[in-house]
Subunit: 530 residues, 2 copies
């Protein structure tokens, strides 16, 4: 299968519909399960490639943003269909490049096409337009009120940085790309070196959909390169108007700084770092401590712990309930098999992170060892709240199956730990009915710390829906006012424009008289569909 | 009247309800019409004052954000009532400190109280909550969908920087304060040195309303100080979570940089610099060139040209129509009386800006001279499109009654000028029915440059309503995705939080079962009020 795929893959970038061979460093996909490099060779692009892609995106923008919601909805659906058409090939390559199980990758393909179709639905529903009409009041004293209308328009070409850990759903046709394309923004993706072949397959699917849909070729480009070099060139190109990123805190903050230092600063939506605290309340520990301990390790070790929402922190009040939880967790983690991580680099970083924690906290247990350097060995640590509150280092994200249990003296100390946390993507509470009062005191603290609060579940698994928030205060993201998953992600790539006294013949449909598109609109302050 | 006022004013800051005498530089209000300093003396605060105010705001935040929409609506109305109760005193002091006409200041009081009441209405209408509910799908395969809900919450304490040119509507109780308080954020205002007495009167009105409403005293504070010192301390205080600013490009970009360099970066909404291009199309010039020329100068010289939306640039195709426009404008500007500017500093900057333009463009006419150094003398310049496109300097904002006419060879060159513009608050088109096609070609270009596009009017005068956008691409603002005027300004101080599987007893009303507050909510993707 791999041999056949190598024949199909060209190892080229795709810039505005055309294959382009890079002139920079050679890279290859790497199969962490087999410990072997994959064909073909890919090469990084250079500043010329960035400029070509950015110029094409800027040229495509006026045409692309002027497409109707229906046209863009059909385009997103065409991408989904094109991805499904190469599903078997795509899944095989993504499994090989990521070392992730086939079932997981198969699910991720479904998630990716589901996201594209969700945004098709968002486009057809039409509220994304943000249509508002304040009707003229010609007789108002002392001054008449003019006719003023408002709608959202696309920001411009968007640079998307693929994540390592979701080779499909947060990658070439992932949530950032889908939401930016939905908004009417051309997209330039910087592929992640961890899955170049997967990236090429998906980029070809998008490119085919661009052509099928009669859209300008510059609507989409795929580049290979490092974040430090090609990535910064992309973010600082004056034609790029917004950035989507999922990755490390170091990488995200570097892009944020580069974007802020531009002559014209632009927004960067960087999803970066989160340790996803889980609070275990007394009633929950008493009634199901051992079950929670086992389920916790299931969530922790899933996908070798390589989730942004991995539960990296457990907080509970000391006592027999917590002891029972820890006993079960110790047993489960000790039996957790070593599993391949996405790349040798990520595996090394994980080992270093665990090493650091070993010096700062008490080891509870390690998972099974492996002779492979690319495999991650699960790790569970414990500390007390005083030491946790005294050391910012204990809040550093260790990307992989490592977690830290913080033992608190009482509920007040648990609240102090909650208040001492950095910003998070998620905060979880396990609570029984008897814990409701305690949970009610905790909830307002957690609202200020996290983008999503969940009860009696585990944070891994982010539902793609209308109410999802995959975001949160810094350093979870660089912009807590948004979400990178779910319907509201489209809002990141829009801005409002007001139209005052604009001739009826020139008004876009969204804010035209008679509501030709049947949108929900705010007319004189009231929502109406008429 | 001024003597009586001096007796009432204390010259103190108000920090969390308590008067505090500053320890820094002495300042006084200055009456530019009389050329005389006003009593009493005010003194700048220091870092201790910043810390006291920030600590009080942070302490007030949990209580204040937990108030209901109705409670905050009544609080905003109480501020408006308190301001009206001191209306006569306030108007007299604001006229004295600004040199602006009484009718203008009286109107601005109405605008300020109107803004407060608009946000009371926004709160009661309730869509600001952004309520979304995705119902659980327990039988979904392969995995059930949990119950997920979303609402917006307040960001935290907000620092507001008053503008010089609207001593009421963009000052202590102005749009930034009103929208931040509406969102549930405590506010710390840095007063503008140009109107310290006006600031004290309004701050006392807000402080009284805080007490009347039973809110924590830290909900509001007023500080005096420079932007460079106290302002930066405020923006870099870790308890401040967002910033509203109206002022110069230099001041705004300094605050943006300071906020970006924080360990936890925060959003800054800086409204800064705009020259508000006005495009005169052929039909409009032919049918009403002279009237347009006269009306243009009326808009240009209103309030000594001290509006963010002052028409600083006229763009038209050369010909007899433009000549007639220029003739009328020349006549009108020549007859424009010199008028006091807000401060001697602003008058000096204006004179310097006009001096710079004199070297780079051709003088059409100056307004009447004045012996007073605080008076601004109107100025009208002209250049051709080639020179305009070649010099970024000609796009620099000259704050005051100065404008530049750009003569284009044809419609294509006019489009090139539009494309060469920096970001703007507004773009205006004057067009007749015969110009519709030309206007239709221009409109998409202007959408990418400005927050508001208006036809057959003048950009001065910003309606406070639901559809207004007072914003636009950099450098008009630091964040084009928002507006600082109108109902949507509240969105700047909110962020979404998702609630997954949260026990019904703990859900906030906005996303509770049964919709107790009767809100418009998005349930499974569809808007509904049931």
């Amino acid at each position: 299968m791999t041999a056949m795929l190598a024949n199909q893959l060209t190892g080229q970038m795709i810039i505005a519909g055309s294959p382009v061979t890079g002139s920079g460093a050679e890279i290859r996909g790497f199969d962490p399960a087999a410990g072997a490099a994959l064909e073909p060779v890919y090469r990084h692009g250079d500043s010329t490639d960035v400029q070509t892609a950015a110029a094409a995106a800027a040229a495509a923008f006026p045409t692309y943003r002027a497409t109707t919601s229906e046209q863009r909805a059909q385009f997103l659906e065409a991408i989904a269909t094109r991805i499904e058409a190469v599903g078997e090939t795509l899944i095989a390559r993504a499994v090989a490049e990521s070392g992730l199980p086939q079932a997981r990758i198969t699910g991720e393909v479904g998630r990716t096409t589901g996201q594209l179709r969700l945004f098709a639905g968002v486009l057809r529903e039409g509220s994304w337009n943000g249509a508002r009409i304040d009707t003229a009041l010609p007789d108002r004293a002392p001054l008449p009120r003019p006719d003023i209308r408002q709608r959202n328009i696309a920001l411009g070409p968007v640079a998307v940085f693929s994540a390592s850990n979701f080779p499909l759903a947060f990658s070439v046709a992932g949530g950032d790309t889908a939401s930016a394309l939905a908004a009417g923004c051309p997209v330039i993706v910087k592929a992640h070196d961890a899955h170049p072949g997967t990236s090429e397959i998906v980029a070809r699917a998008i490119t085919a959909a661009v052509a099928d849909s009669g859209l300008p070729a510059g609507t989409f480009s795929l580049l290979y390169g490092t974040g430090e070099q090609l990535g910064i060139q992309l973010v600082t190109d004056p034609r790029i108007k917004a950035v989507g990123f999922t990755g490390s805190r170091t990488g995200g903050t570097a892009l944020v700084a580069a974007a802020a230092a531009r002559p014209e600063p632009i927004p960067v939506y960087a999803e970066m770092s989160s340790i996803n605290p889980v609070f275990l309340l007394d009633g929950a520990l008493q009634s199901r401590g051992p079950e929670l301990g086992k389920a916790f390790i299931g969530s922790l070790t899933m996908g070798s712990g390589q989730f942004c929402t991995n539960p990296g922190l457990i907080i509970a009040v000391d006592g027999p309930g917590l002891d029972a939880f820890v006993d079960a967790a110790r047993e489960a983690v000790s039996a957790a098999p070593a599993a391949p991580m996405l790349t040798p680099h990520i595996a090394r970083n994980y080992a270093n992170g665990v090493e650091s924690l070993s010096g700062a906290a008490e080891l509870v247990a390690r998972g099974e060892r492996s002779s492979s350097e690319t495999c991650g060995q699960a790790a569970l640590f414990s500390t007390d709240a005083d030491r946790f509150l005294a050391s910012q280092d204990l809040q550093a994200e260790v990307f992989g199956s490592s977690s830290l249990i913080v033992r608190c003296a009482d509920a007040d100390q648990m609240a102090a730990v909650a208040q001492g946390l950095e910003g998070q993507l998620t905060a979880t509470v396990h609570a029984e009915d008897t814990d409701l009062e305690a949970a009610g005191r905790l909830l307002p603290l957690l609202e200020l710390k996290a983008g999503r609060i969940l009860f009696n579940g585990w944070p891994t698994g982010v539902e793609v829906c209308h109410a999802m928030v995959h975001g949160g205060p810094f350093p979870a993201t660089s912009d807590s006012r948004t979400t990178s998953v779910g319907a509201r992600a489209i809002e990141r790539f829009l801005r409002p424009v007001a139209y005052q006294g604009v001739p009826k013949a020139l008004l876009p449909n969204a804010i035209a008289d008679g509501n030709p598109d049947g949108l929900w609109r705010r007319v004189d302050g009231q929502l109406t569909q008429s």
